[in-house]
Symmetry: C2
Subunit: 303 residues, 2 copies
């Protein structure tokens, strides 16, 4: 089934202990779409400037990503500049140029209003609410957010949270959002705000997923070379939602959500092996399935 994503498309300039790149392709919606497109048809809602490479747009389209909701606006594409130190779990922002993203007012193509799976990427909660108002009876809506919005628009953010099924969020951010350090308690607090399921991203430590009466812990894949963690969280979300959308009309079970977590983790583990979206662009189902087997042997034990 189809999966709608709204989020940013960007140029990223990144420095890490392993190298430096200038104005490479980035953005939460870009990573998400590429990851999800391995598993399900994707509908992308975003905005870029006239400077965004046609070649990239063609590449996204060739991966089966429907770009009818992508607006090309006069002006420059959103630009993020940041760096990582050895602790690759923490991104340090040097500057953010919103550019065409400043006036972004997402509007869904009429045919997209009944998309069953919806992912609200990490953008202004006002825009997330805009999208929510435009979709009709979605089956599953998931949300990502970040400290910037938790601090700046707490009321609007709570309103979005009240109306989604799943929150996918960083460890530090769920602690900030709920004012609770213990993750089990923090997840319960967050679920009391509305969503039935919380997925906590812990960077190189993997993912902790909680729903009523269920807890699932998935490690991250222990990689020997992590070049650039940018986009890992968005790729995770893309794989997660892509897997759910691929289940068709079947009722979603706890095991589906767990497997979604593993697909997300597998795809994210490829993202960080190269700068930008490089590794994702050529990713095959076979690559993913091999990584899933590796995850299985990584976590397997028999009592």
């Amino acid at each position: 089934m189809s999966l709608l994503v709204v989020g940013s498309m960007a140029f990223d300039s990144i420095k890490s202990p392993f190298g430096e790149v200038e104005r490479v392709i980035g953005g939460s919606a870009t990573y998400f779409s590429l990851a999800a497109s391995c598993l399900s048809p994707v509908r992308l809602v975003s905005v870029v400037g006239r400077d965004f490479p046609k070649k990239t747009i063609e590449m996204l389209s060739s991966r089966g990503i429907d770009l009818e909701g992508l607006k090309v606006a006069d002006g420059e594409t959103f630009h993020w500049k940041g760096y990582y130190e050895y602790d690759l779990n923490t991104a340090h922002t040097v500057r953010t140029d919103l550019n065409v993203f400043r006036d972004f007012a997402p509007s869904l193509p009429a045919a997209w209003r009944e998309t069953p799976y919806v992912f609200l990427g990490n953008i202004d909660p006002r825009l997330q609410l805009d999208i929510l108002a435009q979709v009709r009876n979605p089956r599953v809506v998931a949300l990502d957010t970040m400290n910037f919005w938790i601090g700046k628009s707490p009321q609007l953010l709570r309103e979005v949270i009240r109306n989604v099924d799943i929150v996918i969020i960083n460890e530090a951010e769920i602690r900030e959002l709920t004012a609770e350090f213990n993750l089990v308690k923090a997840a319960r607090k967050l679920m009391n705000m509305g969503p039935g399921r919380v997925v906590v991203k812990r960077g190189e430590y993997g993912v902790l997923q909680m729903a009523d009466g269920e807890v699932f812990a998935a490690p991250a894949y222990p990689l020997e070379t992590i070049y650039d963690p940018t986009g890992a969280g968005d790729s995770f979300a893309g794989g997660f939602m892509g897997y759910l959308a691929s289940r068709g009309r079947a009722a979603l079970t706890e095991m589906d959500y767990r497997l979604a977590t593993m697909y997300g983790s597998a795809i994210a583990s490829f993202t960080v092996e190269a700068f930008s979206t490089e590794r994702l662009q050529g990713l095959s189902l076979e690559d993913i399935s091999m990584r899933l087997s590796a995850f299985r042997s990584l976590t397997e034990f028999r009592v």
Copy 2:
């Protein structure tokens, strides 16, 4: 089969966001022995002062811990004072009074020299070498250490490491010891120094275990109430080694080491639920087996 441990017995004074305790029972060998004694016979080598409670010695003995190697010396017992902030992964030391531990020269009862399983707790590498010189053909020797010894006695520590089979070590400490941030690379570097297996303790994020061609990731149990993380690492090591020792004469397989990791994780998850060794003292095999099942459902997924 029998399991020998050498390490500290102590009084701990601890402050955490969840309470404060003065001069409660602590020490690496105490936690280790109590944890291991759930699974195998334990031989304890340590020293306490005349002020150490007889009641505690009786309690240890009643758990099947052989205390022939415990010296009661004139003077006061080792005392550690520290605190935790909300990040319970990091212990902050306020003071360390070595007391009777300063002149500790461990000497093995003659009948203990052929103990098949040996754990060298986190003490001066000089003492660890002392013990190694006294045991004959041990089957498995494991070692714990800490930043203090990595900085103070790097040469002696390397000599111990060269002569053990397994190193059980904190995440920050393996990075410091190997001067390598990436854990996969760090573990390989450490294995190149001698041991065939490295077990990295990551606090609330669980354990990463590596051996030639094998990687195993185990989460920590997501607890709602962690009162005091003191002794979690030692309890883990006790459960780990206790399980290996319980395997009798069977050749140890990768699955044995994985299960050892899960036993260690299960027992450690009880330790942190109360201050001091309180929770460990009454721990039954049934408690542990229920927690192991919970771990299984925590990590299970089917591809």
